[in-house]
């Protein structure tokens, strides 16, 4: 007998999932695949990486479903896992490099390589730019230029609609810091949009 899980609350779905019901896992996945993917995609700005990270976030959540604390919202929990993974990825990320020509007196390729200046670049590669055209709008570009801490609070507040308290819990930071990040982030966005 199959149950209709669409009207079931998240906390109850988690209980059913912990009992081993695959349909409950599927329902949780269908509810959160879009918001989790969107958040990660706007953070890493690369669809392939975002898909890998979102998949990892769901797998970690499902594997630890027995440890879920129903006192808090399931959405806060899964966003916390997704955000931690994303921040880890962004910190570990090997940024693409741009190599300038070597010294003027370097004639052999080896000498050029030895004396070349390597500058780290945070810009998107041409392939990424083509991939990420959906993030090319003014507001999306402005969001992309925000610091990671600012970006995530803006996304959680204004796109995912979390409260300040929930954001503080997701990011493990004090409520006052959430407010400060939001104020600064919005001020930067306003400035960037005015300049554009």
């Amino acid at each position: 007998m199959s149950l209709n899980y669409q009207s079931v609350e998240d906390a109850e779905l988690v209980t059913l999932a912990a009992e081993g019901r695959e349909s409950a896992y599927r329902e949780l996945l269908s509810r959160y695949e879009r918001p989790v993917f969107s958040l990660i995609y706007r953070m890493v700005r690369n669809r392939t990486v975002a898909e890998d990270l979102a998949q990892e976030a769901f797998i970690r959540t499902f594997n630890a479903i027995d440890t879920y604390n129903p006192q808090y919202k399931f959405s806060s929990w899964i966003f916390k896992i997704a955000n931690n993974l994303t921040i880890d990825h962004l910190r570990k990320r090997r940024v693409p490099t741009v190599s300038m020509h070597g010294a003027p007196d370097a004639v052999t390729p080896e000498a050029q390589a030895r004396t070349s200046l390597v500058v780290q670049s945070h810009a998107e590669s041409p392939e990424e730019y083509v991939q990420n055209r959906e993030l090319a709008g003014q507001i999306e570009a402005a969001i992309g230029e925000l610091r990671e801490e600012y970006r995530v609070v803006v996304l959680l507040r204004h796109i995912e609609g979390h409260t300040y308290d929930e954001i503080a819990r997701i990011l493990d930071i004090p409520l006052g810091t959430v407010k400060t990040y939001l104020h600064r982030a919005r001020a930067e966005l306003k400035l960037r949009l005015a300049e554009a």
């Binding site: 081993g20 599927r26 695949e33 995609y41 979102a54 499902f62 594997n63 440890t67 407010k179 966005l189």
Partner: protein
């Protein structure tokens, strides 16, 4: 009174003239009377009095400004009424200071943070009320608030992105794979947990495994001391004993079944089923359904190790 002399006495200095003009309506004393008498005859002092009168006239025509809105209300809320208990500390209490600050805040322009909070609905009720009171009279702040509201509306209108097609299926498949791997690892981990890790553990494990070996060795050593006993003879003896025991067990079970009448009833039932084709077909269908159900249960449990997943913790 320092003044130069004239034919009518000393001239009036600036202080005396200002006192004379101030005293027109308020004060008439001996000094004023003396000054007036001098003024009546001295053209120089009359000219200076005229100049001062002009200054006084201009000052008297200065415009009066009205206080800001709800000024009287705010003043009244700040004073102690006769019925209230007055205490020395009350005049500088934190509550009064806060009220004073909030009144000052109501008059001042709103900061960007406050406007953002108001636009986002995150401002406390009292502060929001004060902010709205200011906004009602300040178009500049109202315009700035509209700017923040536009920004928030733009952010909230941004679309969410769907993951690539088949994302959910890939997640579920990967999750199953990982769960199976984890289940295998957990079995190995359970086995590994039994491995002794301390000298006492090794002594216990050695005792448990050594005792049966030692018992068997002792029995073998004892039997080897009996001269008539050979290995072939011992094996033959044990074989006969086992065969006799099994034969006796089989005979007793068969006798018990025959005596209970169960075999007869089973034979009668089989005979009846074979004699009735409809019953035989129904029995065959039931058997087939039972077989398929068993296959389905096996498939579900082997295909998706859900019971093992409950023990996965990462």
């Amino acid at each position: 009174m320092n003044s130069d002399r004239s034919s009518h006495g000393r001239h009036l200095d600036d202080d005396a003239i200002q006192s004379l003009l101030d005293a027109v309506e308020r004060r008439v004393d001996a000094e004023t009377e003396s000054a007036r008498r001098h003024l009546a005859d001295c053209r120089v002092c009359q000219a200076r009095v005229d100049a001062w009168q002009e200054v006084f006239g201009e000052l008297g025509q200065l415009r009066r400004f009205a206080p800001p809105g709800r000024f009287a209300e705010r003043v009244l809320s700040g004073i102690e009424l006769p019925g209230e208990a007055a205490s020395p500390s009350r005049a500088w209490s934190w509550g009064r200071l806060r009220r004073w600050l909030s009144r000052t805040a109501a008059d001042a322009h709103l900061s960007g943070r406050r406007l953002q909070d108001l636009a986002d609905g995150a401002l406390a009720r009292k502060r929001a009320t004060l902010a709205r009171a200011h906004l009602a009279t300040c178009t500049d702040c109202e315009d700035r608030l509209a700017g923040w509201r536009r920004l928030i509306a733009t952010l909230e209108a941004l679309p969410s992105f769907a993951p690539p097609a088949g994302f959910a299926e890939r997640v579920m498949a990967r999750w199953r794979e990982m769960a199976e791997e984890t289940t295998g690892r957990s079995r190995a981990a359970r086995a590994w947990r039994l491995w002794p890790r301390s000298p006492r553990g090794w002594v216990l494990a050695g005792t448990l495994t050594g005792m049966p070996v030692a018992a068997f060795a002792a029995a073998a050593a004892f039997l080897s001391t009996v001269p008539q006993l050979t290995t072939g003879g011992l094996v033959t003896y044990l074989w006969w004993q086992a065969r006799d025991a099994l034969s006796a067990l089989g005979s007793s079970v068969l006798a018990a079944v025959m005596q209970s009448g169960a075999a007869f009833r089973a034979y009668s039932l089989a005979d009846y089923l074979i004699a009735s084709p409809a019953t035989a077909v129904a029995a065959a269908a039931g058997f087939t359904a039972l077989m398929f159900s068993s296959i389905w249960v096996l498939h579900r449990n082997i295909g998706f190790p859900r019971f093992a997943l409950r023990h996965v913790h990462s």
